[in-house]
């Protein structure tokens, strides 16, 4: 552990028992566990900024990335996190495997499980896929996004970015804007931010807000300006282009006019507001480049950096519970 900076070393010395085998949903976590994960991740941020970034906490472990949906960002984030902790990392792309030949998710999982991975990272287009997988394998399963349901490591990295920018999360007003209906990022963020004491608002046209979302404990707004009024954080979500053009929104230009974030609308937010986006962005559709690229406002680059650290924290915590853990 020669490479560990003092901050990380301290954090790793703390007794932090993380009594979970899998990392599937924000709802499985409590406040103390989240605080510990964030502290640990803070340490890894420092590590990642050094020249020597490698630890041996996961030495001998195998991490498998199983991405049924393409995602360069999340997949490489998990890959780097695993490698920096000393694990062997394998990326499975179902397109090249037998999934395209009609094998079911369970069959694939059982097959991969027989290769004795220690950690299995899964992304799948169906809600509940990660939970289903976790019931059929002996290794730890990490949910890297299941349908519209959850993306818990994204919520963790978002919380880390906010905590580092503001020094706290409790009391922040966070407006999540755009396609809430299809967004696992929104669902995980609502749960985590509310647990940590933030006020969460949802903003979007009625066609993109889930039924009875007001019962999530969030105020719902259909007017972007009103929704982000006084907001400390404005989190924009991606809207897939095929969902515009008259399907859920009439057109790209109409969407940008009313729900795209530009400088003028952003003026409604609180002074010192920070803008976030889980990526990849549709510039000129949900967010203006002028806002996205302004480093005084945008946390979007930070989010990517925090992603690796947050995932390292999750992997480390889960690995401590693996069989024969040191």
């Amino acid at each position: 552990m020669s490479a560990a900076p003092p901050g990380l070393h301290e954090v790793l010395q703390r007794t932090f028992s993380f009594p979970k085998r899998h990392f599937l949903s924000v709802l499985d976590l409590n406040e103390v566990e989240v605080a510990n994960l964030l502290d640990l991740a803070d340490g890894f941020v420092a590590l990642n900024r050094q020249t020597a970034k490698k630890l041996d906490l996961l030495k001998g472990r195998t991490l498998m990335n199983l991405f049924f949906e393409n995602s360069t960002r999340t997949q490489s984030s998990f890959e780097l996190a695993g490698k920096r902790l000393g694990a062997d990392v394998v990326n499975m792309s179902p397109r090249a495997s037998s999934i395209s030949k009609g094998e079911t998710l369970i069959d694939t999982a059982v097959t991969l499980n027989a290769m004795q991975p220690d950690l299995l990272v899964i992304r799948h287009s169906a809600s509940g896929a990660a939970s289903l997988l976790s019931q059929k394998v002996t290794c730890s399963v990490i949910n890297a996004g299941d349908g519209r349901h959850e993306h818990p490591t994204q919520a963790l990295l978002d919380a880390l970015s906010m905590r580092r920018a503001f020094g706290r999360i409790a009391g922040l007003r966070v407006a999540i804007c755009g396609d809430i209906l299809h967004s696992r990022v929104a669902r995980s963020n609502v749960a985590l931010l509310q647990m940590l004491g933030a006020e969460v608002r949802l903003v979007g046209p009625p066609t993109l807000i889930p039924a009875q979302a007001e019962r999530w404990g969030c105020a719902v707004f259909h007017d972007l300006r009103k929704g982000i009024e006084g907001a400390d954080v404005v989190m924009m979500l991606r809207l897939q282009l095929e969902r515009m053009d008259g399907v859920l929104a009439p057109s790209q230009r109409e969407y940008f006019r009313f729900y795209g974030l530009d400088r003028e609308k952003l003026a409604c937010a609180a002074p010192g507001v920070r803008v976030m986006h889980p990526g990849p962005m549709n510039r000129g559709v949900e967010i203006d480049s002028d806002v996205a690229d302004d480093l005084a406002v945008s946390l979007i680059q930070d989010q990517v950096e925090m992603g690796v650290a947050a995932r390292m924290a999750v992997l480390t915590s889960l690995a401590a519970r693996l069989e024969n853990a040191r």
């Binding site: 079911t104 998710l105 289903l132 299941d146 519209r148 009875q212 999530w216």
Partner: protein
């Protein structure tokens, strides 16, 4: 012929005559030859098999008018024989199988095939429902008249609504001329398309695409308007929402020739039972909110809903062990129908005789079947059931070929002890 059978010391529940009390029944040559109410049977002759019911319930054999098997075409799910065995184990002595098989039951030779297979199996009585449209595709009428002649009991496109109103109008009008009942699933296909759950807080949180309850009401209102136009009889296939019940109530109050079913699943479960994506609880129509479930129970109690069905829909592991959105809908139910229904008797929500009517005389009368009653001269279809015995449902031990029971792991109160169909003992616990 088998020996005569005397079942004594039982509580007879016969909705057809309104009798609920102590008694005994004597069976010979496949028919009920004597029903003794409140007193013992006459002296038994020598060669009679006597069964002492020990105070258990003796009911008419159940009539379940919405059953799917996999035969013909998907015999790995369920065959007519395995379904008949499951029915016998559940006290069901008459089943009506759905037409959406491979091939579809849309012409008389397939009707004939099912009737012949059922005769060969010789367990419970099996009747087919025919398709309303060719291939259940909702476009062109099936051979309704020929299928009626061949012995199908009603026509339906099963789970698939007939979207084209002109086609459905013609089906209703044409079927009426043959005295044929039409059953139809009320679901607006555009609202329901792609949905895996009922729209609402639960589905939103779980990230499941949902269908609003209005989808059921919208299609039901159209169907009722077409019933008014044609004067044909309609069986509403599974009412599951409070809002559709309002429409049904108005239609019945106005005297339209409409009857309605609901499924035992929608009486027994709500959407929260889906829990962590349990695919055994994925149904079509999907499980509803608790408010809807309560409304459906009330509608059964009041008689607004006439018939309860098992909606037996076998699905093997390869169709169920999938992510929730991709899994096949449906649940097996023949073996759990009676004990699950008895829950409402135990809870004192619905009087036993009214509850039993929904699965015996009500469906039998609607289908024009000589079944569902305990009367001298009636076919000897009987079920002996101890309503008190708790039974832990273990899906793997069910008789059905497919084990997709949402009751798996639940304890139901009520155990079928013996089932008699046409005077033959087809099941004994």
């Amino acid at each position: 012929m088998s020996r005569p059978l005397a079942v004594t010391n039982v509580r007879l529940v016969d909705p057809a005559s309104g009798y609920d009390g102590p008694g005994a029944v004597m069976v010979a040559d496949g028919v009920i030859v004597d029903v003794a109410r409140g007193q013992a049977l006459g002296a038994l002759s020598g060669d009679v098999e006597a069964v002492d019911g020990g105070g258990a319930l003796l009911l008419p054999g159940l009539v379940d008018i919405r059953v799917k098997t996999g035969e013909p075409g998907a015999e790995t799910k369920e065959t007519l024989e395995s379904a008949a065995r499951a029915a016998a184990a559940g006290g069901v002595t008459t089943i009506v199988v759905q037409p959406d098989t491979h091939p579809v039951v849309d012409e008389p030779s397939v009707v004939d095939f099912i009737l012949r297979r059922a005769r060969d199996v010789e367990l419970v009585k099996v009747f087919p429902a025919g398709a309303a449209t060719k291939g259940c595709a909702g476009e062109r009428m099936a051979e309704i008249g020929l299928m009626a002649e061949a012995g199908c009991l009603y026509v339906t496109d099963a789970d698939r609504p007939i979207v084209n109103s002109k086609v459905f109008r013609r089906v209703l009008a044409y079927a009426k001329a043959f005295g044929m009942l039409v059953a139809h699933r009320p679901a607006d296909p555009w609202l329901a398309g792609g949905a895996a759950a009922s729209e609402g807080e639960f589905a939103s949180r779980m990230g499941l695409p949902g269908v609003p309850v209005a989808a059921e009401k919208i299609m039901l209102e159209r169907d009722l308007a077409l019933v008014e136009l044609t004067g044909a009889r309609l069986l509403v296939d599974q009412v599951t929402t409070a809002c559709a019940l309002e429409s049904l109530e108005r239609a019945k109050a106005r005297g339209l020739p409409v009857t309605a079913t609901t499924s035992i699943n929608h009486l027994s479960f709500n959407e929260i039972d889906i829990g962590d994506y349990r695919t055994f609880c994925k149904l079509d129509p999907p499980l509803r909110s608790e408010d809807d479930r309560q409304a459906v129970i009330e509608a059964v109690a009041s008689g607004l809903i006439d018939i309860v069905v098992s909606a037996h829909a076998p699905a093997p592991p390869e169709d169920k062990r999938l992510p929730y959105e991709e899994a096949a809908p449906g649940a097996v139910g023949l073996e759990t129908l009676l004990p699950a229904l008895l829950a409402f008797h135990h809870e004192e929500r619905i009087p036993l005789i009214d509850l039993i009517r929904t699965v015996t005389s009500a469906p039998a009368d609607l289908m024009g079947l000589d079944a569902g009653r305990l009367a001298k001269g009636a076919p000897a279809d009987l079920v002996l059931c101890n309503p008190q015995t708790p039974v832990l449902i273990d899906a793997d031990k069910l008789t059905s070929k497919s084990k997709n029971s949402p009751f798996d792991g639940r304890t139901l109160q009520g155990k079928v002890l013996m089932t008699v169909a046409d005077g033959r003992v087809v099941y004994r616990a």
